[in-house]
């Protein structure tokens, strides 16, 4: 096999690990590819690099390709999500003024109960709360909206503004935002700078949220089947390695390097281990599956998840979306085609009821040993991809 170099863009975040590790630990080499990893300065630049062909693949917010399919955002191109890179991994946090009020109320910072957190926030705030998020099309926005709509806070209680993650702490300090939803390690950076506290992990709102996807241009995905397969398998092996507890320290060390995240390994380890430090008061909470890369079909691009995203985006932006068209952005077909050469256990179906799994559940699969993990929404709602409410 001829060795091929693939330019791949990523944002410096903990959940870029599957791509970084694939290159650093030799999983890309095993597939005779080299990943030329390019750190993007912003999500819009990353999207443009992929759209204009500067890179062949990218670490992308899962709603971006879906939004582009709906014609939303500053650029149009047909992108494909060929696999899911990570499940969950965001945090919701608040600035010092709100933190102080919550403490005065006796709030326990359990980092788990989405309803209780919303009620506490409601009684601590008078006007609209301004939340910073990394990008208008992101799981961050979708989780925030879903949470406020269905709790004491209410849909009109917040205003959402875009703030690049590395500037989140600065925006809190300047008083531009009251709170935020961001991917790690940027929430922990806020904590370590003494500017606020973490309130909830993303999984407290939806336990099965696809966070980042591996995206390519649709035409590339279809005309370069060999490369797509090699890339997909390299990333899958990398995710498998990442899921092993004994890999954690090495993974945190590699990610912390100057050319990747350029932040202390200890800070990065929090998201990998789920041992989150919530505030300058030192509260520590263990949050299992805070960020998941592998196992239980974590990387399978469920079409029902693309439909959930499209359904939410269409509602928020007043569009009428054809969910079946939107769902085709998540290429479960390509995933099946290319992953059969591995020992990945592929689910029999490409859609599921989202939010219906409350306990680890065995489902029909190619190897017959696939257990799906709980994917509950905090309010117990179930999203039926064939009949969205």
């Amino acid at each position: 096999m001829r060795r091929v170099t693939l330019p791949v863009a990523y944002m410096p975040l903990v959940d870029a690990a599957p791509l970084i590790i694939a290159q650093e630990m030799g999983f890309a080499e095993d597939e005779a590819i080299a990943l030329d990893l390019i750190a993007a300065p912003s999500w819009s630049s990353l999207r443009d690099m992929l759209g204009f062909g500067r890179v062949d693949a990218a670490h992308m917010l899962s709603p971006v390709p879906v939004a582009m399919g709906l014609g939303l955002g500053g650029m149009t191109a047909s992108l494909a999500a060929i696999s899911v890179l990570s499940v969950n991994g965001n945090v919701i946090g608040i600035g010092r003024p709100l933190e102080d009020k919550l403490r005065a109320q006796g709030y326990g910072f359990d980092f788990a109960d989405a309803r209780a957190a919303a009620s506490a926030l409601k009684s601590a705030s008078s006007g609209k709360l301004v939340f910073g998020v990394p990008f208008p099309f992101s799981m961050h926005v979708e989780l925030l909206r879903y949470w406020v709509e269905r709790t004491a806070l209410g849909a009109d209680s917040i205003e959402i503004r875009t703030v690049p993650p590395p500037l989140m702490a600065e925006a809190l300090e300047a008083g531009d935002i009251d709170a935020f939803c961001v991917g790690e390690p940027w929430g922990s950076v806020v904590v370590d700078r003494g500017l606020g506290a973490l309130l909830l992990p993303g999984k407290a709102i939806w336990q099965g949220a696809p966070e980042k996807v591996l995206a390519t241009r649709t035409d590339w995905a279809e005309t370069e089947p060999d490369l797509v397969g090699r890339l997909m398998r390299a990333v899958w092996q990398s995710s498998r390695w990442l899921a092993k507890p004994e890999s954690r320290i090495a993974a945190a060390e590699i990610l912390s390097r100057q050319r990747y995240l350029d932040l202390p390994a200890e800070l990065i380890d929090r998201a990998l281990s789920g041992r989150m430090i919530l505030s300058g008061h030192g509260e520590q909470r263990q949050c299992d599956d805070f960020l998941r890369f592998h196992g239980a079909a974590a990387s399978f691009p469920w079409r029902s998840q693309a439909k959930w995203i499209a359904h939410r985006l269409a509602r928020a932006h007043g569009l009428s979306a054809d969910l079946n068209t939107a769902a085709r952005v998540f290429r479960s077909d390509l995933y099946r085609q290319h992953m059969t050469q591995t020992d990945a256990d592929l689910p029999g179906a490409s859609e599921k009821l989202e939010g219906a799994i409350h306990h680890p559940t065995a489902v029909g699969s190619t190897r017959g040993r696939l257990n799906l993990l709980p994917d509950r929404f905090f309010d117990g709602a179930v999203f039926d991809p064939d009949a969205p409410e």
Partner: protein, 194 residues
């Protein structure tokens, strides 16, 4: 008679900003506003109701622009990132020059072109200068590492400077690597062993 175009330039670096704004003003019939600080960027831009927004492609605050692509009210004018279409290779040239442009919905391409041409020329110049600066810095760094590696070899092997450099160069050629990379590896290894 068409109205003058309103152009907003987002740029933190004062000198660069002045250069870009002046060039645009000279080039044609447009009103130019500068936003230097990224705090509440989207609202500041919206307040000018610009026809065109220019921002460095590497500026992380570009993501704040994305909000402007979503018209939130009936009077809002959504902007879209400037992509080729009628204007041909201009978008590609803009990307290569390191400028991203957002253009208001419905603005005729021939009105965008003069502004883009100027912006592209200006940003290319800045980018070239930055690259040259980075090159110079890297060359300096490499020289320092090579000097240290030479020093290590001279001490360890009791050879003179020319011989030390010749040894580094030969090793680099044998291994198909750069002299600076071999020097770097040697310095790192010496650091570990020492």
């Amino acid at each position: 008679m068409q109205n003058r175009l309103t152009v907003v330039v987002v740029e933190e670096d004062r000198d660069r900003a002045i250069g870009i704004v002046d060039a645009l003003k000279e080039s044609g019939d447009c009103e130019v506003f500068l936003i230097a600080h990224h705090s509440a960027l989207a609202r500041k831009i919206a307040a000018h109701a610009p026809d065109i927004v220019l921002i460095d492609i590497d500026n992380p605050t570009r993501d704040m622009m994305e909000e402007l692509t979503l018209a939130s009210g009936p009077l809002d004018r959504p902007v879209a990132m400037f992509v080729s279409g009628a204007a041909g290779g201009l978008a590609q040239a803009a990307i290569e020059a390191g400028v991203s442009a957002y253009v208001v919905d419905g603005l005729a391409p021939e009105r965008v072109k003069p502004v883009m041409d100027t912006a592209i020329a200006r940003f290319s110049m800045v980018r070239r200068m930055r690259q040259e600066l980075a090159e110079t810095r890297r060359a300096l760094e490499e020289r320092k590492v090579i000097d240290r590696a030479k020093g290590l070899l001279m001490k360890a092997k009791g050879i003179d400077e020319d011989a030390a450099y010749a040894l580094l160069r030969k090793t680099a050629m044998d291994q198909g690597r750069k002299v600076a990379d071999v020097a770097e590896a040697l310095v790192t290894a010496a650091g570990l062993l020492g």
